[in-house]
Symmetry: C2
Amino acid sequence: MLYMVGLGLGDERDITLKGLDAVRSCKHVYLEAYTSLLAFGIGSSALSKLEELYGRPVMLADREMVEQSAEEILTEARSANVAFLVVGDPFGATTHSDLMVRAKRLGVEVEIIHNASVMNAVGACGLQLYRFGETISVPFFTETWRPDSFYDRIKTNRSLGLHTLCLLDIRVKEPSLEALCRGKKIYEPPKYMSINTALEQLLEIEHSRAENAYNEDTLCVGLARLGNSSQKIVAGSMKSLLAVDFGPPLHCVIIAGQTHVMEEEMLAFFKIDGAHAHS
Amino acid sequence: MLYMVGLGLGDERDITLKGLDAVRSCKHVYLEAYTSLLAFGIGSSALSKLEELYGRPVMLADREMVEQSAEEILTEARSANVAFLVVGDPFGATTHSDLMVRAKRLGVEVEIIHNASVMNAVGACGLQLYRFGETISVPFFTETWRPDSFYDRIKTNRSLGLHTLCLLDIRVKEPSLEALCRGKKIYEPPKYMSINTALEQLLEIEHSRAENAYNEDTLCVGLARLGNSSQKIVAGSMKSLLAVDFGPPLHCVIIAGQTHVMEEEMLAFFKIDGAHAHS
């Protein structure tokens, strides 16, 4: 049996009782380490906290390892319980469909244990989930690569009055250019896009496209470390959020569409000037 | 402190460790009983399972009670820990924003403990969450009330190639017409819309609107009891799903937009004819 277990967003105690039961029944436990890793503070101390809680050694599985060792993991899962742990939900922002498809093709039983992910926890800011349009991902601009295909999606969402959740780029274990040239395995330090960088890039694109999908006065909500005890949610104009220090990753940002009364009442608690709806 | 604790989708063991810690620290524990109630099998036996796990009495709070007794609940929360338990996530399909706004206005500290909800767990069928458009709700038709405003939203989503999650009507503790006339509190038995009813209604609307937002050959995914051990997911044309017995509530249905290769590989495992992508 392959258990794909969502760990939620905060720390090791965001696992469900069902998830914990499953992990404790497993011979091998893998933790996907290629997304959202930092969200969870998966340093050595966080890892040992997990191991202590589970009573099992936990093997960090980066993208390379999952791709290369999937057969091995799945072969283990044919004769024993194996857990593949995912920060958030197994089918959250980053899907783990590929591992599941491979498992099912090999006739390995798969059980999914769901948990919160950024895709539903963003509701905490007060914007209602059913009023979101298509979710977009904002990649880091480079000197030569400044993609803007998501601009049209934001524009469409906004024209429909819908909110847009923007997931921000995470670069973990990217081979450095030098490494690529020399064929060596040297990695860039991990990079996590901040809300500030995302907003700068978004405004740059609006400036060049000039189709008025949004502007610096558009209401946005920045969410840092969502679901964690140090979570920081601030609502305000794009311009005003540019100056906010949201602290460590992970960050995401919502570009608001039309807001309803109840949404505004909730958002008021997160407004940058601290003004409350009732004040 | 008011804890708003998501219970997830399956049973009492889908609470997170953090959620359980919170509930066990509480003097008063309320369970919202006006949505998704049946999903969780909240009959008397399920309720006593919760009470046993928590070591606390759990008070069922229906909509009426929450609206009438919010002040009381919140007054309790000023001097003691109070838990308000919600099936799914506190800010899932049904928001509990109102209680939170009231709490914050009274200066009561609120802590949200997230969990899976239908809004992210639908990813289990293989359709990717970031490719969903606006979510719609399908209400029960009556003789005189056959609303179709969601038709335009489906049409928009489909024209953008996006999937549409359709949440299906739940009628719990609706006063009967007779009761309304007589001013008595008599309630209709609870009603949960099935996937079959939803599809019939959807096809009826397409028939009358005839704008080709979808048709009986459109790929849909029916999901019953999502996240529960008896979960049933079936993918197929609208027409073919009409004949599927999905069993007890809760149901929801996805009208697919354009599907990508990875989505199709996953969906193949749920196809109505049982045909797998690799066969």
